[in-house]
Amino acid sequence: MSDEHDELRARLSAADPASSLPRSDPDRVARLLEDTMSHPETPTDSDRRRGPLTWLVAAAAVAIIAGVGAFALVNGTEEAGSPVAGPDPSGSTSASGTTELRAPGAEAISGRCLPPTADVLAEADVAFDGTVEQIDEGLVTLRATRWYAGEPTDLVTVRGPSEELQQLLVAVDFQDGGRYLVAASDNGQVMVCGFSSDFSPRLQRLYGQAFGQ
């Protein structure tokens, strides 16, 4: 009887998916313990942590972006052609010759990404090729090197994407010194989901098509 048990247990153990899991990294353990002990001993309201949603959705977003290339974020309830949502007008050109744009809010993630097309892109009122000069406190400053649409200015500022949107990886991940193609709709919201992205010849061709350059 016991031998029979041992045999069954051994057979199950051989199928253990965690048998090859490496031991945890001591530095990681130390950080994990420190993080845990930094919590108060009794729960508080502000203590709620981000669940696995972020990672799941981010993984899905990565799959989409990596698999198909570029997409437009289309809000399900808005007209299908417009990749941004939100009533707030801006996108203004300030007196100092800087175009001011902003990233869409987290509400935009209720939509879906669709492949960007030149037709939709052509509706952008601001479109340019530029390099990030400075990033601070959620404000990204780009030096525009080529304008496809909008009144040309030397500098463009973008209010950084919200944390939520960045984590979903549908927003543009501006890096210092990086070159980007950025488009924004008439209310100054940066078009995400692949319309605005780091520079690639493919995206540049799309910009060329959309704006006849």
Partner: protein, 180 residues
């Protein structure tokens, strides 16, 4: 300063405990969920241990598995709500499945899949976490007697399923033999 000392002792006690628990809990979670959820749930479970340090029994591990089990159930409840959003995103390009190793015991996996989830979980706790039926009782928060009986039945059911699968396989082989 007495409170500072108490705090220091508490931290030291937790650190010693957590270092014992982390690897078994990581394996427990790796067996039952995806890596990202496992990381989240591990943090959740450690936080519960930190907060309930005074409740931790001498044999801490089965109790901690029970904590992780609850945290994982919570995470998965939330996950199901969110899967709708994920589903909308993944319609375009479904995420790649992790490739399974080729040398896995297909018959065993099939037999486990045919069991009720509660029975399969008992067997996992027994074979993978290497727990006794009394320890399984702690994890599942049932009486030791109930755990012992259920474990016995689950083993019998698994053997039965394995027998069925082998019979089908044997039957197919003999048919192939006749056909040639």
């Amino acid at each position: 300063m007495a409170t500072d000392q108490g705090e220091e002792q508490r931290r030291a006690r937790f650190e010693a405990l957590a270092r014992e628990l982390i690897d078994p809990l990581r394996r427990y979670l790796a067996r039952r969920t995806d890596p990202a959820t496992a990381d989240d749930v591990l943090s959740d479970a450690l936080l519960v241990c930190w907060r309930r340090l005074d409740d931790v029994p001498d044999n801490a591990l089965p109790w901690a598995y029970g904590v992780a089990r609850n945290c994982l159930a919570n995470a998965e409840r939330g996950e199901r709500r969110r899967e709708r959003l994920v589903a909308r995103l993944s319609v375009v390009a479904p995420p790649e499945q992790v490739a399974a190793p080729d040398d896995r015991d297909g018959e065993l996996l099939e037999a486990m899949a045919a069991l009720r989830p509660e029975d399969a979980e008992l067997l996992r706790l027994w074979a993978w976490e290497q727990l006794t039926s009394a320890e399984i009782a702690t994890v599942l928060q049932v009486s030791a007697n109930a755990a012992s009986i259920r474990l016995h039945r689950a083993r019998e059911k698994l053997r039965e399923e394995l027998r069925k699968i082998q019979q089908v396989a044997g039957h197919e082989q003999s048919r192939e033999g006749r056909g040639s």
